[in-house]
């Protein structure tokens, strides 16, 4: 199809307008992703930082296979206990498991305080997948107390999303 000579300026104008529109869209999308940290309150800033950390964690975890991820989740739980962040560890527990064995936070706190050593070394011996539930066999030991200090614990984990999981363990 030949373009008539007198239509050429109009077509050129249309193309320029389309380009300008696309540039405006690109600009607005790029601005949307930018956060002006100076305008945020301390609480908002904390939230943004926490979200960023979560994002980075997710990206890191996405590069791991499922076994490595499950082992990471167990280590997150154990690290929380080791650091005496019992509330954080308690929040990781599956709700029905909590109801069955630790209906109150204080029950769990007391249990974790008494049963887990202050320094913990983990040895993952086996893993099985049952649909979307993973069962891990883990030896939890105090590295300072020698091999005999180890106790065999099963961890059961359900991963809802990357870094979003619920777990339970065999209560001793």
């Amino acid at each position: 199809m030949r373009i008539k000579k007198n239509n050429k300026p109009i077509i050129l104008c249309i193309i320029i307008v389309i380009i300008i529109i696309i540039l405006v869209i690109v600009k607005s999308v790029s601005n949307k992703n930018k956060i002006d940290y100076s305008k945020l309150s301390d609480e908002e800033l904390d939230l943004v930082v926490a979200n960023k950390i979560q994002e980075i964690n997710k990206i890191d975890l996405s590069s791991l296979n499922e076994r490595e991820r499950m082992e990471y989740y167990v280590s997150e739980f154990i690290t929380a206990i080791e650091n005496k962040n019992y509330e954080t560890a308690y929040q990781m527990l599956y709700s029905d498991f909590k109801e069955n064995y630790f209906p109150n936070y204080s029950d769990f706190e007391e249990y974790a305080e008494n049963k887990f050593p202050s320094n913990i070394a983990l040895n993952h011996t086996n893993i099985e997948r049952n649909g979307d539930v993973y069962i891990l066999w883990v030896t939890v030991a105090n590295p300072l107390a020698g091999k005999s200090s180890g106790m065999e614990i099963n961890f059961v984990i359900k991963e809802n999303d990357l870094n979003d999981f619920e777990l339970s363990f065999s209560v001793i």
Binding site: V26, S62, Y101, N130, V133, N154
Partner: protein, 323 residues
């Protein structure tokens, strides 16, 4: 060539190829913009998993058609939920008519007994496409359902990791309705194949195919006035299921001995995986003996047994079971 000439040449070239240059610039611009926009898109990281419930474990290149995946999941969920709620009638009515007939003898009590073995108490479950097999043109999708305790709720406290497996089979019937079999049952097939001679008539009426076995209903008729021994463990491989490349021994049945003129119905069971790709060809009775005298095999000396076998008329018989 001086600068003016070069300028004129470039101007001339641009003028001559104006349209082409415009198109190239436009294309580049569009690609640049698309690339820019894609750059702003956030790729959501996803959790990789090896759990693919609808990909066959026996052949990972095969999977259940998309159109069947949700109906199958839904059917299993409704079935297990009904069992967990103790609504056995509802669960029983979800089974195909053949499954009710050949697995449970159309008796709901038999079914309830089966469920109590598989699920003695409310269970969690998960599913896995196991394999696919064909009955004629009909595709049958075999799933393994594993019943487990609620591991997450117990953390395996004071218990060990275990599960109870059961094969479920799904297929569309001639009306396109999705049918479900449980208890490893796949299908029933009429055989109606007869082999006979002056001594013996062997009538294979039908077969029931389960995941790991094939059961044949066979009627033996002794037409002679002599005892006929089909199987009494005195000869090797007395009854065999013949497959294209191999044979399978009879399982479970100790003796098949027919008195003169006697008719006997027997269920012959052979070990055979339904998804091994082989089609059963025939049942071979390789050591039939028409006995002059038969004293049995219990509390009878080896010499007498051997002598009676030596005096017997020996033959073999093969009944086709491949339709």
């Amino acid at each position: 060539m001086n600068f003016t000439e070069l300028r004129i040449k470039i101007r001339h070239f641009i003028k001559k190829n104006r349209r082409l240059i415009l198109i190239i610039v436009l294309l580049w611009l569009i690609i640049f913009l698309i690339n820019l926009l894609l750059g702003f898109r956030k790729e959501e990281p996803v959790a990789t998993t090896t759990y693919e419930p609808h990909v066959s474990v026996m052949d990972s290149s095969k999977s259940t058609p998309k159109s069947l995946q949700n109906p199958i999941e839904e059917k299993i969920k409704n079935y297990v939920d009904a069992c967990n709620e103790g609504n056995f009638e509802k669960a029983y009515n979800m089974l195909s008519d053949d499954c009710k007939t050949y697995s449970f003898d159309n008796n709901i009590q038999n079914y309830v007994t089966h469920v109590k073995v598989k699920m003695p108490m409310p269970k969690k479950y998960f599913i896995q496409d196991y394999s696919e097999t064909k009955l004629g043109n009909k595709s049958m999708y075999i799933y393994e359902v594993r019943y487990t305790d609620d591991f997450l709720a117990t953390g395996l406290t004071n218990s060990n990791y275990s599960y109870i497996p059961e094969k479920f089979v799904f297929y569309r019937d001639s009306d396109g309705v999705l049918q479900m079999n449980i208890g490893d049952f796949l299908y029933h097939e009429d055989i109606k194949s007869i082999s006979e001679n002056e001594y013996l008539k062997v009538d294979v009426a039908d077969k029931v195919v389960e995941y790991e076995i094939e059961r044949y209903n066979v009627k033996f008729t002794n037409r002679s006035d002599k005892t006929i021994v089909i199987s009494d463990n005195q000869e090797a491989d007395e009854v065999l299921l013949v497959l294209p490349q191999e044979t399978r021994k009879l399982e479970g049945v100790e003796k098949i001995v027919l008195k003169p003129g006697e008719s006997l119905d027997k269920e012959l069971t052979f070990s055979k995986y339904a998804d091994d790709g082989d089609v059963s060809q025939s049942i071979l009775f390789s050591s039939l003996r028409i006995m002059e005298n038969y004293s049995g095999t219990e509390d009878v000396s080896e010499d007498i047994i051997k002598q009676e076998i030596d005096n017997a008329i020996k033959m073999s018989m093969e009944v086709k079971v491949d339709k």
